[in-house]
């Protein structure tokens, strides 16, 4: 057997059974090896941003890494933006990047580039296979690094390591370090702070702390301890909907965020980082908590967040029977009608959301209302791009659908954002994925119009308009989707949108709705 075969075996032995791929010549031995492993599901993306974004979506839904297969430095480069999102989401991921044979590198052939240099800024771990004999240790190290703590790993595979002969062995499962024990000193310190400042303690939950079971504990702490529960502005994954505790999302605009947090004396982080302004603006603060606010960590990413919350509840004497406030029913609101608006879409989607759906939200400005309403929707998983890098939505929905074939995936997508990785629709068609993509077609980078106002420009001219607007020509999303084999339809009234959504939800996907707003 060769190194490529052995690498596949290491992955499969560790239940890495999906490979999102966009291979090139230097990866042909690896492709040939995958071809001998029908138990590996190989999913082609027509652009590398689709590949890494799908691996991110897959990881968020399974808590397990998928492999990606990328072609040398430029192929990796195309995948970096969604690796950035994945890194910020702390998603496990194993990127396998083919490189020239080691002895070919000094010749500086056209595709040669500094792959380590490219990978490092967007990876938590970078390694290079030194030769065929290094396959097992290198691949096992990459797998381990992807999960302890979860993060993005990049393993560079030179062609001669892939094609070199190795002894036929059967790799075993990598033994992962157990989660560290709960830091009881931190728990006691947080409990003390909660007791000392009732009503003035905030707690930011993310990662495993934003899953239904952990949220339930956090909800009891909130109810009994007078703690206000928050989520970061960009949410990697949160289990949400009726019956679940709904944290307050810290708003994106700086002024709104500081107002939200102004009465907080102690902010407790549970797998989260201290919230900061997404961008700096002249004369506005970067940190969002008040200057005198104390910031405490209950438990960090990679630790057992649920156990830490349980320990905190215990320490506070909160019983598992304690009630917490959760949304029970959808609030009364008239059924939207007439001309379609982003708010009307939010209402319809939240109302009609099937139980156990997965929502991938990259609608940026257009879906802000959806998140508020989603607390009243059927129980679901909610995910966003987490690094601020545009182009995560369609790939993330693709990967989530691969991870969870029995669940409906709803992708709320902005037209501007959707175009960055529009190629992902083809993968949805090829793999027959159950994804409904709703494109909020406002034909503009609406967020940037807002930001122009933020920098003091109230009337824009020709050059700015040509950089901020997507009209002339308008994108025809039905044509784009059809061009990649995805059925699609357009709505510009609430009635038509509702009818399309009903239809899309009643049949297997993929389907795309261009919502003209």
């Amino acid at each position: 057997m060769n190194g490529a075969d052995l690498l596949c075996d290491v992955l499969l032995a560790n239940d890495v059974t999906v490979c999102f791929a966009n291979p090139g010549t230097s990866e042909m031995h690896f492709v040939a090896a995958l071809d001998r492993k029908p138990e590996m599901r190989c999913v082609l993306g027509l652009f590398e941003g689709v590949v890494t974004g799908a691996a991110d979506g897959y990881a968020r839904m399974t808590d397990r890494p998928a492999a990606t297969l990328l072609h040398t430095g430029p192929g990796l480069a195309n995948g970096l933006a969604n690796m950035h999102n994945a890194r910020r989401a702390r998603s496990p991921m194993i990127n396998i990047v083919g490189d020239h044979a080691s002895y070919h590198l000094p010749l500086d052939a056209p595709l040669t580039s500094d792959i380590e240099g490219l990978a490092a800024p967007m990876s938590n771990w970078v390694g290079r296979v030194k030769g065929p004999a290094d396959i097992v240790p290198a691949a096992e190290a990459a797998f381990r690094a992807s999960l302890t703590p979860p993060g993005v790993t990049t393993l560079i595979l030179p062609a001669d390591a892939a094609w070199g002969e190795v002894d036929a062995i059967s790799p075993g499962k990598v033994k992962l370090a157990p989660l560290p024990a709960v830091d009881m000193a931190a728990v006691r310190k947080v409990a003390e702070a909660i007791r000392a400042a009732p009503g003035r303690v905030g707690m930011v939950v993310r990662g495993q702390a934003a899953r239904a079971d952990a949220l339930e504990i956090a909800g009891r702490i909130a109810a009994t301890g007078g703690v206000r529960l928050f989520s970061e502005v960009l949410i990697a994954r949160m289990q949400r909907g009726r019956g679940r505790f709904a944290p307050t999302r810290i708003p994106y605009p700086v002024d709104a965020a500081t107002t939200t947090l102004r009465d907080i004396d102690v902010l407790v982080l549970v797998g989260a980082k201290e919230p900061v302004a997404f961008f700096a603006y002249p004369g506005k603060p970067g940190r969002l908590v008040p200057d005198n606010c104390q910031v405490l960590s209950l438990a960090a990413h990679g630790e057992d967040l649920k156990a830490a919350l349980e320990a905190l509840a215990d320490e506070l004497g909160i019983k598992p029977t304690q009630q917490f406030t959760a949304a029970r029913a959808f609030p009364d609101a008239p059924t939207p009608s007439g001309r379609l608006t982003d708010d009307a879409i939010a209402v319809s989607v939240a109302r009609k959301l099937p139980a156990n759906a997965i929502v991938c939200d990259e609608a940026v400005t257009s879906a802000r209302r959806f998140f508020a309403l989603s607390a009243y929707a059927a129980p679901h998983d909610y995910m966003m791009g987490t690094g601020g890098s545009i182009g995560g939505g369609i790939p993330m929905a693709t990967g989530a659908a691969i991870a969870c074939p029995d669940r409906k995936v709803i992708n709320l997508e902005a037209d501007g954002s959707g175009m960055y990785t529009v190629q992902g629709l083809w993968t949805q068609a090829r793999e027959k994925l159950d994804v409904v993509t709703i494109v909020f077609s406002n034909r503009t980078y609406a967020i940037l119009h807002g930001e122009m106002t933020n920098v003091g420009v109230n009337s824009i001219g020709e050059n700015a308009r040509r950089m901020l607007d997507l009209d002339h020509p308008a994108l025809d999303w039905i044509a784009l989707a059809n061009g990649m084999g995805v059925e699609a339809a357009r709505a510009d009234t609430c009635e038509r949108f509702d009818a399309l959504l009903d239809s899309a939800l009643s049949r297997p996907g993929p389907f795309l709705i261009e919502a003209v707003i």
Copy 2:
């Protein structure tokens, strides 16, 4: 005025008058500044690979840098693959990458990343504006670096440097160092080698040495001195067609390349690098010249290649009146008919090519015959992706059309390659660019099928097929083009293709022909 205004002024003072842009929030002050400069042409790309690829095409046709505007690390990351191609083409380019305000960086906000780290592998020069007072020196250094010698430069612009107030000044033109004098010792050494080994000297021309005037001199040297003239396998730009001397392209397959070069005792490089195998293959060489071949440099990139060729002709006593062999008329060949093939497309396009057209060739396997035939076509400029990074074609054609609004641009595009940066079609529609895109729709990564055979796999299974084939579903290029506002039609016979090409050439573009082969 603020730093952003001053940066625009430095660019405009140095005749950088086109900005390919995909801005984000941290670049809003720069966008506002551009809005105050109607003399700057701002061209929006819906994906950053379009932006950098267009700047590459623009630079190749003008020998001048365009500016690009990219949004922080992830935006830059999306542009890196085509910066890689531009770097290998040695195209001047000034990438302006917005970053957070300097004081915001320590907060590690979601979009924060190591921009210098990302830029370095694909840039010849990287700098960061230190503050508003540093705008002029930093921008001038970037401009200078983009041209001496020509290359890719990346200038990072923190938001507080853009919005900071500066004294209103009018920047002047940057004084560029003159080209170094011709190295006469190198010239004499090459002349001596040519005299010593008539018929056994090869010469590889590229860059300015592949322009019509320099090729004419090289052609005379070839005719009189018994020198064989070559081009690299990937051609950044060559002036080609009837009446021009046509170098032999060194073939892509290693065996064919070594056969082509086997009788060469001395290889002379004129702005070129020593040719090497694109990829390593087990048991095949990496260097393509014979082991005992002497490699000499007549002049390097950034030197005056035409003057060096003139000096060499002088040294060899070759008169400007000396004849050289150039194609005069199109070879007799039957007009293709019936089912469309890639060879038939090559014949039709070469025959019908309008004088002074620009051909951007990213058809990979499908257009190999075109290059041979193009020696007999009307005089034109021919360009390819030069770094082996896929996704350069549509953007390059876009940039070339912006650079040369009075010339027809023909983009020979593979379906696999075209999908990487398909968003460029929208920019062609918006800017009403005169581009005819011919998509060779073979619904496969044909080159990778060949490479599978090269690694010894003759029969492929399900996993490999799913990574190498683009069928199921087939891409509908008419729908894709229409979705972005570009008219399109499909041909699967030679007759229909010819009719479409005639029509597309007779009217201003953009237009796309899906050539089903």
